[in-house]
C-alpha cells in the first residue's frame, strides 16, 4: 500500500491511514484506555511500519471507524466529489490499484473531451486463508495472550478442527 500511495501521488490521489482500536489487544499493545493511548499507538505504528502516508486518528470511541463499517482492515476510495467509488472489507492492493487505474482512465478521457458514463459493479474477491503469517504478526505486535484469545475464539466459532493447526503452531512457538 505504501508503494501504491507513492506511485499514484502524482495522479491526484491522496492515501491516508485511519488508525482504529486494537483489534487483538495483548500484553505488548493493550486496548486503548484513553485517547492519549490511541494517539501514541498510532505514532508508534507509523514509525514501526515505516509509513509515509498521513496517519489519522479519530476519537476515542472510533466515530469515523464506525461510520465506515468498523471492520479492522477495510479500505475505501473516495472520489473528488465526495462519493464512495470503491469499498472493500479487506485491504487488497491489487484491486485498489485496478480501481485507481480506472479513475486515471476516466480522467484522461474526460480531459480529452469524452463524456464518462458511470456504471455500477460488485465483486467478491478472495484471499489466501493462511493464518500462520497472521499469528506471527500477533506474536510481534500483540503478544502470546492475544494469540491464545484468538485461538479460543476460533475454537468457539469454527470448531476444534479449525483451531487444531493453530494450537500446534502455538505449542511450537512457546
Amino acid at each position: 500500500m505504501e508503494s501504491l500511495a507513492e506511485r499514484y501521488a502524482d495522479k491526484r490521489v491522496d492515501s491516508v491511514m485511519i488508525y482504529t482500536r486494537e483489534a487483538h489487544p495483548g500484553e505488548l499493545h493493550p486496548h486503548h484506555a484513553s485517547f492519549a493511548d490511541k494517539l501514541a499507538n498510532a505514532r508508534e505504528m507509523t514509525r514501526r511500519m515505516g509509513f509515509k502516508r498521513t496517519m489519522l486518528v479519530d476519537n476515542y470511541e472510533g466515530a469515523s471507524h464506525r461510520a465506515y463499517g468498523q471492520l479492522p482492515n477495510m479500505t475505501y476510495i473516495v472520489g473528488r466529489r465526495g462519493r464512495i467509488v470503491y469499498r472493500a472489507s479487506w485491504t487488497d492492493a491489487r484491486s485498489i490499484e485496478w480501481m485507481l487505474e480506472q479513475l486515471s482512465f476516466n480522467e484522461l478521457n474526460s480531459r480529452a473531451g469524452r463524456r464518462i458514463l458511470p456504471y455500477f459493479m460488485e465483486a467478491e474477491l478472495g484471499k489466501v486463508a493462511d493464518r500462520k503469517p497472521f499469528l506471527e504478526g500477533l506474536r510481534t505486535y500483540a503478544g502470546m495472550r492475544a494469540i491464545d484469545e484468538y485461538i479460543d475464539a476460533v475454537t468457539q466459532v469454527y470448531g476444534e478442527g479449525t483451531a487444531k493447526p493453530l494450537r500446534k503452531w502455538r505449542e511450537q512457538a512457546s
Partner: protein, 84 residues
Amino acid sequence: MTRPSRSHLAPRVGCCERIVGAYNYEHFDAEAMRGAEFDNFRHQLSVGDPAPDGVLIDAASTAEIKLSSLWRTRHVVIEFGSMT
C-alpha cells in the same frame, strides 16, 4: 434503593448495534470474531453514497483534518488498521 439503569450511557451506533463502551474491548473473544459489523458491512454503505465526513487528528502534527478537505481536489484512498 434500586440502582438506576446505565443503559443510557451506552449509546448504540448505526446499523451495527454495537455499544460504544465495548468499542475498545480489552480481550478479543468469540463475540468480537462474530462481530455484527462483518455482516453489516455489505449494507451499511454503498458505492455512490456520500462518504462519511469527520474531523480527525493528524498523528504527526496533531492538526485537525476534515476528511472532506482531502477529497475536495483529489481522490482519496482510506485504509483502516491498527498495530494488532
